[in-house]
């Protein structure tokens, strides 16, 4: 982001401790981050570093132990459609069709602001956005993993969230499908200009999609190690970037962070 924008989402000294059966585990400490409107931020780190916990804190699905998550200067203390989540394993309701899954969100969020016909159009528009309108009457069990994740993205987008949270959205997909969906997400981001926060453990994915990459140290008590700005112009094309010097430098920076300075150590438990 070349032009400074006003802070949209702010993580202010966020701390998270889980307590189970008297045993405390300090997962996250002193997380400070400011995210501007329309920014695409990735969070990367080894497994167990608490990046999913951080996303859940922003989503409001779990409460912070200390500090605060602020969205437009309002404290986040419960989940809500303005912070829609694309879950790792799509989380579509298997007894509903593709259309009904998206409509569940649309009819709840826009129950008083849109008429029935407008809600229908809105569902279809969001399914079009992820190119899934053709499968609107299929059930999740009848479509592929990549298609399910597309519908999950459509459902999240249909809530018109201020911030879209993506929890390893492409983690369960094969490499080719993943590339397709990454392109789709980039396209949607450029079209709608949403603020997006994505959890990932894929270095290429982080560099390709993000404006900034937040690199997490290893747990326990993980925190933000470094933040890398990705100064690549948009639209970005993966083929051109494969040999782009800036791209390769960003990639190297993340790899060095992950495999040199903060190597994953198997917990000796």
């Amino acid at each position: 982001m070349s032009t400074p924008m006003k802070t949209h989402l702010k993580l202010d000294h966020v701390d998270k401790t889980f307590e189970r059966g008297g045993v405390k585990s300090h997962v996250l400490r002193d997380i400070n981050l400011q995210i501007a409107e329309g920014e695409y931020v990735s969070m990367i780190g080894h497994s167990g570093c608490g990046k999913s916990t951080l996303l859940n804190l922003i989503a409001g699905l779990i409460p912070v132990t200390a500090g605060a998550v602020l969205l437009d200067n309002q404290e986040v203390n419960q989940p809500g459609p303005e912070r829609a989540v694309v879950f790792q394993n799509h989380s579509l309701l298997p007894w509903l069709t593709v259309y009904e899954n998206v409509n569940l969100a649309v009819s709840k969020v826009f129950s008083s602001t849109k008429t029935k016909a407008e809600r229908h159009d809105w569902v279809m528009r969001n399914l079009d956005l992820v190119q899934m309108a053709h499968a609107k009457d299929k059930r999740p069990s009848e479509i592929s993993g990549g298609m399910k994740q597309r519908v999950g993205i459509a459902r999240a987008l249909s809530m018109e969230p201020k911030v879209l949270l993506l929890d390893e959205p492409f983690g369960a997909l094969d490499a080719l499908t993943r590339a397709h969906l990454q392109d789709a997400v980039m396209e949607i981001h450029s079209r709608l200009g949403n603020t997006m926060i994505m959890i990932t453990h894929d270095v290429d994915e982080a560099v390709l999609l993000s404006d900034r990459i937040v690199m997490m140290t290893n747990g326990p008590a993980a925190t933000i190690g470094e933040v890398l700005r990705v100064p690549l112009k948009r639209p970005r094309r993966r083929l051109e970037l494969a040999s782009d010097a800036t791209y390769l430098k960003c990639r190297e920076a993340v790899l060095k962070f992950l495999y040199e300075r903060h190597r994953f150590v198997e917990a000796a438990e």
Binding site: Q78, G80, P94
Partner: protein
């Protein structure tokens, strides 16, 4: 920004694929296959039970044919109880009605008792499944109560209602409600966290959560409970009617025993068995339709 700028030490060789040849496959037409399957399936599913029934009837006939046998052989049952077998829906007034009518009277009681059990069972099960404390506190109580035999409830029920018909319905209710409660509670506890997260992000209220997430997600469990429940109801009604009287199929058996009409009892047993079988199939069919997606 071309690929040429990239420094490579080893050259990469790209080999174009040769044109593939397409082979046509000779497959038998699907229509013929399908037609050929019908008699086969019929033979597989219908013939064995018919054969077994025939063998069993023969053994029964042989065993009970000697003079002084305590039970009537099938041929005697058929001739003595021909009215009951051939005309299930005759009605000569008051106590002289066909077995079809009697089964319907019993079914009506089951419908009321089991209907209440299904509604209350799902609601109570949903509440218990949602709360760890309620589960821990109530589960042992339910586990004990569900083992009480249906008829053991009858004296208490008669004392409380002072009338046989509501007592019989209560016995059905109290017999069939436990499996519904327990299975619903387990189903609700097994709702994946993902679905709960979706509901939370959407801010569904408890009522919306109940019918949009909880019931569909727990439906397979609920229907398992309902299926066990309907079986128990049918067991309970026959026993309860023997003691409370009325025109149900249970009382018919008791009445026939008192007037030594053994053939009638045997026919009534077949009616009860077939009805119970159909009830079970009905609930499982409804369950399959309702849970088709889950």
């Amino acid at each position: 920004m071309g690929l040429a700028q990239l420094k490579t030490d080893t050259a990469i060789e790209i080999i174009p694929a040769a044109a593939a040849t397409v082979h046509a496959l000779n497959r038998p037409s699907p229509k013929r296959e399908w037609l050929g399957k019908i008699p086969g399936a019929l033979a597989r599913n219908v013939l064995p039970p018919l054969l077994v029934i025939f063998v069993l009837l023969t053994i029964w006939q042989v065993a009970c044919s000697h003079p002084g046998a305590s039970l009537p052989p099938p041929t005697q049952v058929f001739t003595e109880a021909y009215d009951l077998i051939a005309y299930p829906f005759f009605n000569y007034g008051d106590q002289d009605i066909g077995l079809g009518w009697r089964v319907l009277v019993s079914l009506q009681r089951v419908a009321i008792g089991f209907g209440i059990a299904a509604i209350i069972g799902v609601l109570v099960g949903a509440v218990i499944g949602q709360s760890d404390w309620a589960m821990r506190g109530l589960d042992p109580v339910f586990q004990i109560l569900r083992t009480v035999p249906p008829l053991a409830w009858l004296p208490l029920s008669l004392a409380a209602f002072r009338d046989s018909s509501p007592s019989a319905i209560f016995v059905i209710f109290i017999t069939s409600v436990w499996p519904v409660i327990i299975n619903t509670a387990v189903g609700v506890r097994n709702i994946p966290q993902d679905y709960r997260n979706v509901a939370q992000v959407l801010r569904l209220n408890p009522l919306e959560f109940f019918y949009k997430i909880m019931v569909p997600s727990a439906a397979p469990y609920i229907f398992t409970g309902l299926r066990i429940g309907i079986g128990l109801s049918w067991l309970a009604i026959v026993a309860a009617e023997m003691l409370t009287g009325g025109v149900g199929i249970g009382f018919f058996i008791w009445d026939a025993w008192n007037s030594s009409r053994l053939s009638d009892i045997i026919v009534a047993l077949i009616y009860i068995g077939v009805t119970g079988f159909l009830l079970d199939k009905l609930v499982s069919a409804v369950g399959r339709i309702v849970t088709r997606g889950a």
